[in-house]
């Protein structure tokens, strides 16, 4: 099968939400796409990269979301239909340009896709980015399923060109990372002309500061918004089904509309209530909402995330239908304003609001009781991951320094160094909790926030005068480029006494092994010169820079120890390609690593390495190697004080 998103028009196929969005862009005649990987948004760009050889658009992995947004914006200014896609947190990175672009508007249709993550399955926060669309005052679309995700991605370019504003498509994990049947539409073969008009309709159109200035341009934006509201009122994505005589109205937006349709069927309410399904949610289609509000006593608002639609509806109802009781996530609460929703929760919420008796699921209590008997499966670093070597060496090096050290984490596979695995007994606020002995690589990170935040925070800790221990930050290769470069310069400039470990495994792994400038290939897989982390660090003025293999524990520990002894900012680059990528390339032969059970004394120091291929037999009190997963990296043999783990010569 060729690229899934290039299949024939009219065919009904199974597409992931992200693929559906990519197909929608292709159907619209999109000319440029840029993105930085971020779960659950990455497959939009991946699908477009895989279809690129058979298509005529430009596509790239940019070095961060702000740059990807600017790349798409620049393309739009010269007339191209362009798009940028990112995860919720990615929008925070792009925010500066994102907030300013709407003042001048756009020329070529521009789509910005942001994949939110209710329940924070893959993210630091559950932030609802629909607020950002309102904040920037640009149209916001929210699909109910994969088919609508495709239609919206396609329509966004027309809406954008019509209004001369970028259009915001808000997806969520359960749209982007779910699949559904999608009927493919025709592909637009025409392409916008690439040209630049300095004063297109408005003087100094693309220069917010240019006379008559930013205020004038903000006013221009506000003159466009009524037209956007009209588009929302007429939009095919907003569907009102009014039931004659119904006293209850339900409004559901995006994916919540899918759950609500199922919940209404379960409760037998389909022909008994009026239902407004919203997809074009900002500006709020005030005429359609008012039409629903008039004639009902009660309105329930169901949405995924914060009470965004609810707040807008409440504000409108105050003017057009003040007597209507509104239930949602703020007042008359029927759903929590955190966590994701689903059909079960929406069914309960509607039943509660309408006082419908709902029988309990037959086995509910039994299920709760049995759940406690299901063994957990903690997520861990992969067997033989180079980060295991780094964390092992870091712990070894830190033993040379007394004190309460602070290790600042960052975003990437290595963030698992803060997930905890054996640390469930550590209590917060107790002296023990503050100074617990680090027993595994899964409890080494003390802070984790967002991309690139670790080194900036380390700088602050050091400059505040923290002297009770060493201050360390870690970040991966892609994160180093994405968001730490200005922070490194800052630490050099202000001479912060911190140690920064760059964990270079050659790929952007956690989001699915996308290439980055360190990899040595570009977005399309063509070879190029790898980015030189050590050279750039020295050029930024860091005096102590050392590169060492994460698989050579003794050398890595020594390098980190020297860096910790160095006064001022120091960088150690720990290298070791992602083992999943290595194992895909090589044909694995029989595992060579084994435990000599006569020498093993059961001390379990190898277990503290945290490798998922090192096992412990509780009955015999001996370590063992999981042959299926072991990659013969040799780290466990290096940590064994008895030299009981051997490589080679296995029978």
């Amino acid at each position: 099968m060729g690229s899934a998103i290039l299949q024939q028009t009219g065919k009904r196929v199974l597409l992931m939400g992200n693929e559906a969005i990519a197909r929608g862009a292709i159907e619209a005649g999109m000319q440029l796409m840029a993105a930085y990987p971020g779960t659950p948004s990455s497959e939009i760009c991946e699908a477009l990269i895989s279809a690129a050889p058979e298509s005529d658009y430009y596509v790239e992995w940019s070095t961060n979301e702000k740059i990807s947004f600017e790349v798409a914006a620049g393309a739009s200014l010269v007339g191209a239909r362009s798009m940028a896609a990112m995860k919720n947190a990615g929008l925070n990175v792009a925010m500066d340009t994102f907030m300013t672009l709407p003042y001048g508007g756009v020329k070529g249709g521009m789509l910005i896709v942001v994949a939110d993550d209710p329940d924070a399955h893959y993210s630091s926060t559950e932030q609802d980015t629909r607020f950002a669309a309102m904040y920037a005052e640009i149209p916001c679309l929210e699909p109910m399923d994969q088919q609508e995700a495709k239609e919206m991605a396609k329509a966004a370019f027309d809406i954008s060109e019509d209004l001369e504003l970028p259009v915001f498509l808000r997806s969520v994990s359960r749209i982007s990372h779910a699949s559904g049947d999608v009927e493919l539409g025709p592909v637009n073969k025409t392409r916008n002309k690439i040209a630049f008009n300095k004063h297109y309709k408005v003087p100094y159109r693309w220069n917010v500061y240019g006379a008559p200035g930013a205020l004038f341009k903000h006013k221009w934006l506000h003159n466009v918004l009524p037209k956007a509201k009209e588009a929302a009122n007429k939009s095919e994505f907003n569907i009102l089904n009014k039931t004659a005589g119904a006293k209850v109205g339900i409004i559901a937006s995006g994916l919540a509309a899918s759950y609500t349709k199922e919940a209404m069927a379960r409760l037998g309410l389909e022909d008994k209530v009026s239902f407004l399904k919203l997809g074009f949610i900002y500006p709020l289609p005030d005429e359609k909402v008012t039409e629903l509000l008039q004639g009902v006593d009660t309105v329930l608002i169901i949405e995924e995330g914060d009470p965004v639609v609810e707040t807008m509806v409440r504000s409108l109802a105050k003017e057009t239908a003040p007597g209507v009781k509104i239930c949602g996530k703020s007042y008359n609460q029927i759903l929590d304003p955190y966590g994701e929703i689903n059909t079960d929760l929406v069914t309960k919420a509607i039943a509660k609001a309408l006082n419908i008796e709902q029988p309990k699921e037959e086995l509910e209590d039994l299920r709760t009781e049995l759940k406690a008997r299901v063994t957990p499966r903690s997520s861990t670093l992969c067997a033989g991951c180079s980060h295991l070597g780094t964390y092992s060496a870091l712990r070894e090096a830190l033993k040379k320094f007394p004190g309460n050290h602070i290790i600042n984490g960052d975003i990437g596979c290595y963030e698992q160094g803060g997930y905890g695995l054996f640390s469930s007994n550590v209590e917060g606020n107790s002296e023990d909790g503050k100074k617990y002995p680090v027993r595994s690589p899964y409890e080494i990170l003390d802070t984790i926030y967002v991309m690139g935040s670790g080194i900036g925070m380390a700088h602050g800790q050091a400059q505040a005068g923290y002297k009770e221990g060493k201050v360390v930050a870690v970040a991966g290769d892609s994160t180093f480029i994405h968001a730490t470069l200005p922070a490194v310069v800052n630490s050099v400039y202000s001479k912060a006494d911190i140690t920064f470990l760059v964990l270079d495994n050659s790929w952007t792994c956690m989001t699915g092994h996308q290439p980055n400038p360190v990899t040595g290939v570009n977005s399309l897989g063509e070879e190029n010169k790898p980015f030189d982390i050590a050279g750039v660090s020295r050029a930024m003025g860091v005096e102590f820079v050392e590169t060492v293999s994460a698989y050579d524990r003794e050398k890595a520990a020594a390098a980190i120890e020297n860096a910790l002894n160095h006064e001022g900012p120091s960088i150690v680059i720990l290298t070791g390609e992602c083992q999943l990528q290595v194992q895909r390339r090589i044909k694995k032969t029989k595992t060579q690593t084994y435990v000599d059970v006569d020498t093993c004394n059961g001390c379990r120091i190898c277990i503290q390495l945290g490798c998922s291929a090192v096992a412990f037999d509780l009955e015999n009190k001996k370590a063992g190697i999981d042959e299926l997963n072991c990659v013969d990296c040799g780290l466990c043999a290096q940590v064994c004080p008895q030299k009981a783990i051997k490589i080679g010569g296995r029978d």
Partner: protein, 203 residues
């Protein structure tokens, strides 16, 4: 009539592929019959890291959302027994069917001695309490017999098909398998499907 199936396993075992094959087969069958059948697959996967619990909700019929409700799954198809138990306890309906590959992949919590893996007897007892029908087979062994260790998930598909719970004919699923698996392993996969089917019927 809606069909709700959960395919469960450990990252890297092919549970997502198996769920996509079921969904694709349902679309093919629906297109032939010219009837409106929605298909949804709700997936839980994120990090590329190996070894995590993965489950895929496959829904066929008059369905809209990607998730199966508590106690609404007709079939749990588990490539790993503990993962079958995990989703079964929450989602399998009373009188539903669980098909389990009998070969465990121990979580790191078990390997380090921090947790215990339930015995097959315990697993059977729990499914019995749920009023579910349980079929186990050694899919790892059958995959090797088929000629490729990575065909485990297709062995399980064969068993699922033999259960009669999949709402489409054999030609639809064979077509979907043919489209979705690497062409050089096609023969092994088709054999795996057949062996899974036979194993279910003989169980």
């Amino acid at each position: 009539m809606n069909t709700n199936i959960i395919v469960a396993g450990v990252g890297g075992q092919g549970s997502i592929l198996a769920s996509h094959i079921i969904a694709e087969a349902a679309i093919k069958a629906g297109s032939q019959k010219q009837q409106e059948t929605n298909v949804r697959v709700g997936e839980t996967f994120g990090a590329a890291m190996r070894g995590g619990a993965v489950s895929s909700h496959v829904r066929i019929g008059k369905v809209y959302g990607p998730l199966i409700g508590t106690g609404q799954a007709d079939l749990v198809l588990a490539i790993e027994p503990l993962e079958g138990l995990r989703v079964g306890v929450k989602y399998l309906k009373k009188g539903g069917l669980a098909i389990l590959n009998s070969e465990p992949l121990y979580p790191v919590d078990v390997k380090t001695g921090a947790a215990k893996y339930p015995s097959m007897d315990e697993i059977s007892e729990i499914f019995a309490k749920l009023g579910a029908r349980l079929i186990t087979l050694n899919a790892d062994k059958l995959a090797l017999e088929a000629g490729h260790p990575k065909t485990i998930s297709v062995v399980m598909l064969g068993a699922a098909f033999a259960s009669g719970l999949l709402p489409f004919g054999e030609e639809s699923i064979i077509e979907a398998i043919t489209e979705r698996v690497p062409q050089k392993t096609l023969e092994a996969n088709l054999k795996a499907f057949r062996l899974g089917k036979e194993a279910f019927l003989n169980a």
